[in-house]
Symmetry: C2
Subunit: 262 residues, 2 copies
């Protein structure tokens, strides 16, 4: 019997008051947890599950949709339902913007990716002036217009993050910061050259489900949340000189911070 495609799955408990589609989801989840289905494995097809459990197709689909929203499986039209492979993870260390890392010329993203043995790219770089949202304006000291730098990052061909930096116009206009490529060390190096010595960053982190637009941009599987990070850079005079709004695919990141105990 274990040779059938559903061999890793048991039978329903008709005396249970747990809904049938939940029982099916439980069994498949357990089979995945215990390794009876491994990453990338194909689950039994809907038709096979219908056969195995003796239920209707919609019930099976209901079960599978639970597992999808939990991020455990992905379905591929015309092919099957697969155990979701865990992508390689990028670690973001809290010292990634330390001054010593700015010497080398490449962007922090690419340097880190190469260190981890991954190929990375930056695409759809857009630079322009715009009116800031209320939130961004408040963080930057209420400028009427800002310079916005938008870009998307890819890791081994997969989009993992998109970010927008906002800078007050009076600070960034007619500087290398307004160029698509701001030069070695990135915009933080340029800011310091312009006399804004950086003092500290504030980072705010939230997690939530993505908007449909974010699902498209990051090609997110269902059941994958996003990490929303808003970083504000302050110079030694206490002025907010940049706000960076970043949305990351949560399954591709671990954030790491080191805090003094004092």
């Amino acid at each position: 019997m274990a040779s059938s495609p559903s061999g890793a799955l048991g039978a329903l408990d008709p005396t249970s008051d747990r809904a049938v589609f939940r029982q099916i989801a439980d069994q498949i989840r357990e089979a995945i947890d215990k390794g009876r289905f491994k990453e990338g494995d194909k689950l039994p097809s809907e038709a096979e599950l219908v056969e195995h459990y003796g239920v209707s197709r919609m019930t099976v689909r209901n079960s599978l949709s639970i597992l999808q929203t939990e991020g455990l499986v992905v379905s591929e039209h015309g092919r099957g339902v697969y155990v979701r492979p865990r992508p390689p993870v990028r670690r973001l260390a809290s010292d990634r913007f330390a001054r010593r890392h700015r010497e080398q010329g490449k962007s922090a993203f690419i340097v880190e990716a190469e260190a981890a043995g991954s190929k990375s790219e930056v695409d759809s770089l857009e630079v322009g002036e715009e009116r800031p949202s209320q939130d961004i304006a408040a963080r930057l000291g209420s400028p009427r217009r800002v310079l916005a730098r938008r870009r998307r990052y890819l890791l081994d061909g997969r989009p993992v993050e998109f970010a927008t930096s906002y800078l007050p116009l009076d600070l960034a206009r007619n500087t290398p910061i307004a160029q698509p490529n701001p030069g070695p060390g990135g915009i933080y190096a340029r800011l310091e050259e312009l006399g804004h010595r950086l003092d500290h960053f504030d980072e705010e982190i939230k997690a939530r489900m993505p908007t449909p637009q974010e699902v498209r941009t990051l090609r997110l599987a269902s059941g994958v949340p996003v990490i929303h990070l808003i970083r504000t850079a302050y110079d030694t005079e206490g002025r907010a000189v940049e706000v960076c709004d970043t949305v990351m695919a949560a399954d591709a990141y671990v954030l790491s911070y080191r805090l003094p105990a004092t």
Copy 2:
């Protein structure tokens, strides 16, 4: 016409190749975004949406389930489907474990909650010895057994976080740390009294969808991810003296870190 319960919603585009249930979800989502349905408002009932769009009930339910997994709405059996209210948010500052905050006697959680005007509780406190998981053991320097302190935090009656602290047994056994209530300043104060002056913390942050067990423990609405934070405390000799594994309801938290630019 705007007096009908579905007055905030438009009509379907039969020429679109976008699936009907997605179009319906799009319209409801837009109505929520634009404030035509506000937080806590009741959406039109499934029957009313069936009537309004002229589709079958399963199609409407399909649309609503999309919005549920996006965390936009919650359904209540026998009552209706409601725009999900945004709960009050707890801000966790990166200096929350600073030594100066440990003087006052109360736990960091309760002090912060009261400052924000919320009522907070800690429940289901369990303290005991156990064998550590591989991951925890690795972080603590591979002790064979550890002291585990589990507890759940509630904010205004709602569970928002549960956490487990692990400490090497040789360090915690027969000390106030092994008591349910470790005394003023919490276990960090006790560790320092025991001669382990704290040097720094490492925090690792991930976000993901909750397991069914976490859904129960935190009473999570569907479409709400969790933030998984693992903090390791090091003493001045470089020894890992505690690992704290925390799972938080993502809709209840904003994490905040301040980083030096040096």
